[in-house]
Each structure stands twice: as structure tokens, then as C-alpha cells.
Amino acid sequence: MSCHELLEDKKILKIDNKILIMGPPNVGKSVFFSGFTNIHVMSSNYAGTTVSYMKGDYTVDGGRYSLIDVPGTYSLSATSEAEAVAVQFMNSNPLAVLFVFNAADLEGSIKLALEVLDYGIPVVGALNLSDVAQRQGKQINVSLLEKELGMPIVTTVAVKRIGFSEITKELGEEIKKIGDKQTACPDCSKCSGCGNSKKILDYWERAKEINARVVKDINKKPSKLDKFGDALLKPWPGILLAILIILVSLGIVVGAGKALRAVILLPFVNFIVEMFEKLFSNFNMPEILHNVLIGNYGIFRISFEWILALVMPYVILFQLVFSFLEDSGILPRMAVLFDNIMRKLGVQGGSLINIMLGFGCAVPAIIGTRTATTRKERLIVTSIVCFSVPCISQTGALISLLSDFSFFMLLAVFATGAAVFVLVSIITSKILKGKVDPLVIEIPNLLMPDRRTYFKKFFVRVKQFLMEAEGPMLIAVFLAALLAETGLLDNASEVLKPVVSGWLGLPPEAALSLILGIIRREMSVAPLLEMNLSALQMYVGAVVSLLYIPCLSVFGILAKEFRTRVAVAIVVGTTVSAILLGGILNHVILFIQSIF
């Protein structure tokens, strides 16, 4: 997440000239932040996309300020880790606040705004999602709202950048006003005057009054999108629709991914590799060097074959599909529909969003678990993601390995993964102490993602993948080339042979999978492609790599988010369970085969 300027440093609370972006969850605060600072921050259509804060430079009237994207809160009473961050920021003596209102649900926003206003800091309002409010037939009297709250308010549609320049202007005016008088509170920590002085009910009371005066509902027929959103929330036909959406999404990722690989990327890669073959044959170099460069496992062969042709098509398709699911508001509906199943597994429906995030990459999924209200829930979801959810790179590699053999093989491996998923969640929820809070989730309006925002997000995601995965993937490729082409692998294979061949029944050179898999998940699958495996070997190899260590980046994020102990426990647990289960499956299937 390095390119995100994800800051964890407490020092940020102390810097001067802070302008905070505050507001309820899922109103588009991050979209404003990206627009004003040109730092792209992930935004989606569900509460809790931003779980930590972001800092960026923001110029108002020629002055430079630090704009901070604060995670959304329903109140300033800190019910989760993400909300606690927001309260800390309000108490850190900020210069001004840009408060983002949800025009489609004004009452809740007004209530939070009243809490924010009580801190005595200059506030500028952005009445966002005004297009959604309009679609729902709501007329909002903005000048009356300004008067009631005593703050300037700009009507905005953030994803279309409507109202951005007016906000900067208003913030400039407010800051100018402060220039004349000194800030009221030089040190917030010693002051008990602001925040939480009133009961939460008083705020709601007042918000209700203001809302009634400001919003006029002209009864408009619900749009098709709203109707579809409601249908998707009903058990019938919602569950059916949700399953269809999942199947169609999978179909697009697998089908279009395969097509992209076969039609465009594979021919392109073959062309490049041939070019390098010709190029290197012109030089009179020692055989071993030639092999390291362009042999079967040569750097210039596998770096293209594995990264470009094996992994990229599925990464691209996954991001296209998943970004749509995120931005439309479908995911929280699935969280509600499948809450009953998730509860039986020891978690709650809301965790489903983080688990689905894990099918892209485990790192954002683990960071996303910060929205969980208990530590137990965080640990269960993290374990599920680490043990049983393959990231998209690995899924891509598995699809290439297995579906060329038989589609049923792919299904068998994923069914095994699903079984492990169930086992892991049941076991961890039994072992871990503490409790998991039941689901309480706000369901956002269904939206058609804005084209510009959607494609920007897609490109940022793919770029981010390239920046973060490219290094480790190339290291894995170099290591593979060195090990395989210099004969070092034979030594390693000899050592690991009892495990790899004796227990797992794989060819000895599959030791390479176990070595490369430590670096990145898909690299434990890629070597298997070159090995002419039998059906059983393919199944066992795929299952082992599915369960195996979830890559170095994940180890890093585990150590950072939890303790090193948790990271080590997960790495040891995944490795042991992968080899244990792989071997058991191998022997059981061999035994069954011997009977028939």
C-alpha cells in the first residue's frame, strides 16, 4: 500500500494547517480527497472503504494545507478502530473541516454535522450525492440548511467533480476569517468544552427538526435502479439474483480471462520469447548462462510466460468486475443475504465483503478487517483469507493449470478450498476467545458506477498490482531460473524429496513450487505447469499451493496489523496444513484407486 501514503504515524496529529474531511460512511469523502490532492484513494459504494486516514497537500488561495481524509463515522463516540481515528483527529486542533453530507439521507448527516459543529472549528459543507437525492425526488433547500447550521454549503456530485472549485473558494473564505482572530482553543487536550457535551438523543432531535424543514419529498416513482436495489435485498428473489451475479462475475473473469490469454497475451508472449531466443543465440555464451537467460526456466522466458500470460489476464478481468461490484452497492446486499450462513460459520455477514476483497489480494482484505468491531472477528476473517482464499494471481495460475486439463478439476480444487474455508472459520471461532458482534449494516443506494471514476479506479488497481507485485514476481523468476538451470534445484529436490515425492506424490522438481511459493502465491502454481503431471498430482499440487503460505507481503501486513506471533502462527499453520492435507488427499485417493 506504499503508493497510498497510508500513514500510521501519530505525528500527523501534531502537524499544523490540517483541513479534515469528515462525514458519515460512504458519502464520497475519499472522492473529494482524490480530487483535491491528486492522490488516488480507493472509494467504493459501501461503508468502511477508508479505514485509516490519508494525508495530501491541498492548495487554497495560494496557501498550502494538509488535507486529511478521515474514515467515516456515524457519530463521534468511537465504536470501532476506524471511528476512534476520526475522534482523535477532531481533537487534534484542525484548522477547518470539510463536512460531506449525504443528500439522499440528510438526517443522519445533519446529526453528525451538529456534533462536528460543537467543536467550534470552521466547517464548510458539501451536499454530496445530490444526484441520487434528485433521482429519489428529494428537494433540498440549501440556503435554509446553511442558515440552520450556520455554515456555507455547496451542492456537489463528487464523482463528476461538480462543485469542487466552489468548495475550495468557501474554505478559503473561512480560513481568511480565522486569520483575523486567534483560534479559540490552542490546546484541545486540556479543554473539556467541546464535543460530546450533549446527549446523542439531543442531536438526533435537532437533526430531525432541521431535516423536516429543509427536505421536501416530491413523491417520485422509484427508478428502475432503486427497484432492482430493493429486489436484491429481499430474500426472494435477492438470493437468486446474488448467486446469478456471482456466477456471471466468475464466468466473465474465467471466460474473458482465458480469451484474453489465448487471443492476445499468449501470441504476444510467444513472439517476444522467440525474439529473445534468436537474440541470445547470436551470442557465443556459456551454456549455463544461456540456460539461465532463455532455457526452459530462463529468465526471459518465464518472466513473460508466467507474469504476462499466466497472471495478468485474470488480474485485469477481476479488477474490471470487482470494481463494478464495489461501486454499485451490491456487496453490502450480499452481506445481508448471506449473514445467516456466515453466522453459522462463526462470523457475520459484513465479513463477507472483506473475504471477497481477499479474492483480489489478501493485503487490502486484512487491512479492511479494521472495520470489525471485535478482535476475534478480525482474526477469524484474517485466518479465512490467509488459509483458504486464493488471491487473483493465484486463481489465474490455477485456472491455467487446471482448466486446460479439465473443468471439473478446477471445480474439485475450489470445492476443496471451500471445505477448508468452512473448517478454518469453525475452528478459529471455537478456539479464539471473545465474541463476534452481530451484523448492523447500512445498506447504500444502488448506483450505476460513474464511468470516469470506475475506469480510474481500475487503472489505479492494475498499476498498483504491477508496482507491488512486479518486484517479488521478478525475484521469484530469477530464483527459479537460477535454481532450475544451474542444477541447484536437484540438490534442494533431494533434500525435500521425502516430503514432495514420498508424502505428496509429486515429481521431485516440484520442490521448486514450495520454494517459490514463499515469495508469491501464484509462483507455487506456475512451475507445476511445466511438469506433465497426472490428474492426481495436479489436484494435490493445486490444493497444496492453495493452502500454502500466503506470500511475503501478507506476512508483512500480518506482522504490522497484529503481532509477529500472529504472523508466525499463520505462516506455520498454512504450511503445515497444506502439506498435511495434500499428503492425506494423495494417500486416500491412491488407496481408493487401488481398491477399484
Binding site: 457519530s75 443522519g108 445481508v336 453459522k344 455477514g349 452481530p438 449494516i441 447500512e442 445498506i443
Partner: protein, 74 residues
Amino acid sequence: MEKTLYSAENGKIYKVLRVPKIELLSSIGIFKNVTIKKENSYRLGGPVSISLNTRKIAIGKEIASKILVEEVEA
């Protein structure tokens, strides 16, 4: 007549009589005397979904069984 939100009938309007002490509920806007509409319930221990003004909220079974409501004539 008093009912729990969990057992209340779908599609009807209710006044909230009692809410368990859970901070998230009050920050999201569910407390005594608020009027809500129960929208859906989900089988096999699933949550209930309600609408509250313009918001739609889903609440897990354990909590919904602790929220007491009373039907209001629409």
C-alpha cells in the same frame, strides 16, 4: 402489542419501545420512540432489514430480538 423486531411482521410500521445498549444502534439512529418500517426478514437465523427515514439498515438476529417494537397504524 409489544413484539420483538425480529418476530414483527414484514411491511408494517412500528414504533421502537426498547433498544439494547449498543452504541452503534444509537449512532445509526435507532433508539426509543423512533418510527421504523420492517422490510424483510431472512430465514435460518438471518438478520432483519428495516427502513428508517431514507436509510435502509440490516440488523442481526441477536440484536433484533432484543429490540422491542409496537405496531403503529399507518
